[in-house]
């Protein structure tokens, strides 16, 4: 089922949480709402669910206006950030809840409920925990139970609020791959909220980058990473080095390299740390600097290079490259950017 979001605005006191948000979620896709805390992503998710009422705008489910529909009737599955499992009920009863509270006429029989719940527990691979209470589960298990509970009512849309936010790095990585696989099997239209760009890039079909109650960019992971629409998106999706330059006939120049630039005068040239070449030999126009720190980060190595009259530049090298060149702290080096994204004072 597709979701159309039209001109949603939401204000908390003087704080504008959502400012005229419009967005289409395609049927069957897995969409990420990505942004820093306070950007409005959770509020938007709660508006879609009907847990929050928008001040203006419309929500359409499959072309039908659902703005006035109560959360009870929206048929959405919602996974809460802290899971909100009913702590006095067993795992089985938690998952069965949505079926048991149905009016008598549409309530499945006990046997049917039992069958459905076990089916779902099988799906999340936790059938052996049916008689436990939420307090007896690990974080990752609770997360999966919360998902099974949301799926039990056969929702047309699945909404997840920071689904992996409260988990350890290891469990987190496992679970997000598992969620991706689950989505590929079920094809239920899903929206999830995250502040972790890596998570969004890995899991989502499309990413909506949000900032200060507005959408900065909508696109596939490749699109938002390779051609960020704004300096904010660029910065949010990874580490950056910033160079100041001027636009001349459609080009901005940094260290002898020319990069296509939009219309404008002053240019901000953003370069990712792994897109900078480092040499010992003086190259024409290259930026001269001195290595101040070297940090080994597993597979990659990060060097901090101090540059006169500017902020220090970060350079990321793969381990092998680093070992071949034997870089040392204090050495004089020359920097050349290989790739860059240019924003001018007009495009910001």
């Amino acid at each position: 089922m597709s979701i159309e979001i039209k001109g949603i605005t939401k204000q908390f006191g003087a704080f504008k949480a959502l400012n005229d948000i419009s967005l289409d979620v395609n049927s069957g896709e897995l969409l990420a709402l990505l942004g820093p805390s306070g950007c409005g992503k959770t509020t938007l998710l709660r508006v879609i669910a009907g847990l929050e009422t928008a001040d203006a705008g419309q929500i359409l489910f499959h072309g039908n206006d659902a703005t006035q529909t109560h959360v009870r009737e929206r048929q959405v599955g919602f996974v809460f950030q802290h899971y909100a499992l009913f702590r006095h009920m067993t795992v089985f009863e938690n998952v069965a809840f949505g079926l048991r509270v149905r009016p008598k006429s549409t309530r499945p029989s006990d046997a049917e409920i039992k069958r459905r719940v076990h089916e779902l527990l099988d799906l999340v691979q936790l059938d052996w925990l049916a008689d436990r209470y939420p307090a007896q589960l690990s974080g990752g298990q609770r997360q999966r139970i919360a998902l099974a509970r949301a799926l039990a009512v056969e929702p047309k849309v699945l909404l997840l609020d920071e689904p992996f936010g409260a988990l350890d790095t290891q469990v987190r990585k496992e679970l997000r791959r598992w969620l991706r696989r689950l989505h590929d099997e079920m094809h239920i239209t899903s929206v999830f909220v995250t502040h972790d760009q890596e998570e969004a890039l890995e899991v989502a079909d499309r990413i909506v980058v949000m900032n200060k109650g507005q959408i900065e960019q909508i696109g596939t992971p490749e699109q938002v990473y390779d051609t960020p629409a704004s300096p904010f998106v660029y910065q949010f999706l990874g580490d950056v080095n910033l160079f100041h330059s001027r636009v001349h006939e459609g080009w901005a120049e940094v260290a002898g390299q020319r990069f296509a630039a939009p219309e404008g005068k002053g240019a901000l040239v953003y370069v990712r740390p792994h897109e900078i070449d480092l040499t010992r030999d003086a190259i024409d126009h290259a930026i001269a600097g001195q290595i101040a720190h070297i940090r080994l980060l597993g597979a990659t190595v990060r060097l901090e290079v101090t540059v006169p009259d500017s902020e220090a530049v970060e350079v990321e090298l793969v381990r092998e490259q680093y070992q071949q060149n034997q870089w040392r702290v204090g050495e004089k080096v020359y920097l050349t950017p290989k790739n860059a994204q240019v924003y001018t004072d007009f495009s910001i």
Binding site: G13, G50, L51, E52, T53, H70, V71
Partner: protein, 276 residues
Amino acid sequence: MAFKKPSVLPGFNLSLGYTIFYLGLIVLVPLSALIFKTAGLSWADFWQTVSNPRVVASYRLTFGASLIAAGINMLFGLLVAWVLVRYSFPGKRLIDAMVDLPFALPTAVAGIALATLYAPNGWIGQWLEPLGLKVAFTPLGVVLALTFISLPFVVRTVQPVLEDMEIELEEAASSLGATRWQIFAKVIFPTVWPALLTGFTLAFARAIGEFGSVVFIAGNMPMVSEITPLLIIAKLEQFDYLGATAIALVMLVASFVLLLVINLLQWWTAKRLGRR
């Protein structure tokens, strides 16, 4: 801003409506009756009633004895709370539960028990009598009864603060060279102080209104051991409704002031402990 933030949860109008209706019916309307009734008195009459020497003597006893009782409890309450939180000894759970006895034991029962114990021929009174110490039927008895009924307040407000206090604070102070006594005076006591003061005020507020436990042991001699609540009842029994109401209003105003102080103290405690 609107009166209420929107929420998906149902039942706001019903629950708030019922709350206000019931509150009005049981508490607010009856209390306002007291204020309107007093308005029937001229200022001169009112002043004469509430400043009559016998009434003033009762204030002095009620507030004085309450202050002493709350003070005793501040000292011993802190000590009991400290012992219950920091030390372990056999029967600790039982003692901990016992602290709430004054909340659970009806005041009249406490009153007759204390009166019997401290009477000149009672278990404890017979030992005090030769020392020239008369407790029953004197102001001292009033202090005793008030100490009993307000005993749990300080313990129960200080205890959670002591429990939540990080041991790291003391370890830090110790690593910086403080002695045990300095740690208590400069780290522990300032942390506990707002709660201690709140407990003191709660105990005091409870003590000034107390009636049941006091009447049996006080002897109720006018000018000497007669507390203000008893005086209200005495006026009522003489069908002096206006007199009773006037004195009750003085008591009520004192309660309101104390309630305000308690709220301020709790706000201060919350701020001190950094709870938002």
